[in-house]
Amino acid sequence: MTERKNRLAIIASKGTLDMAYPPLILATTAVAMEMEAGIFFTFYGLNIIRKDRKNKLFVAPIGNPAMPMPMPNILGMLPGMTSMGTMIMKGMMKKANAPSINELLEICRESGVRMIGCQMTMDAFGLKKEALIDGIEVGGAATFLAYAAEASVSLFI
């Protein structure tokens, strides 16, 4: 009997720098653990795989009391505060020797993580497949569910 691989199915729905990490870290690690992994990028999660946005993911101090330097919203709304918060987080990640989003995307592609862009949100955002990085397939809810139905771990991030 051939043993089926365990499978990890993730929905990536957020497009901020902090929320881009967990799907990519988990998917790459799953493959390293000899599991299959797939990520369905929907709504703002599409930013993670947009050629023009993947290097420009931000984390905003406004309305975010969990920031390392908590900041009153009245200051968080000032111009430049989002860039500053993003810079601080990128600095922290670098100091911790964490890989960049780009590196993780590259590993996803190399290691065969299945990456699906949500057709409906792409249409709603006016995004063509060409706007996304290479190696992305496009599909809808049924595509994800058919994949996730056979998964032992499913996460919505």
Partner: protein, 77 residues
């Protein structure tokens, strides 16, 4: 522990999650011998290497600490 001689040493010092595990998988796959020695500075690797070995079926022969460096010996299955 009986002395084991590694066929390859993988140095992941300075890397943090998830890179040590990703490198470990690559190293084991490419290992021509039996035993891999792995060095890490990420304290999380102690739990992660153990979990990885349990999941993949490779054997964690030993896990030890040498100052701030974690040393693992793994046997390819």
């Amino acid at each position: 522990m009986t002395e084991v001689k590694e066929d390859l040493t993988l140095d992941t010092k300075g890397l943090s999650c998830p890179m040590p595990i990703l490198k470990l998988k690559k190293a084991i796959d490419g290992l021509s011998g039996q035993v891999l020695k792995m060095l890490a500075s990420d304290p999380g690797s102690v739990a992660d290497v153990k979990a990885w070995a349990e999941k993949t079926g490779h054997t964690l022969l030993s896990s030890s600490q040498d100052g701030a460096i974690y040393v693992f010996f793994l046997k390819k299955s």
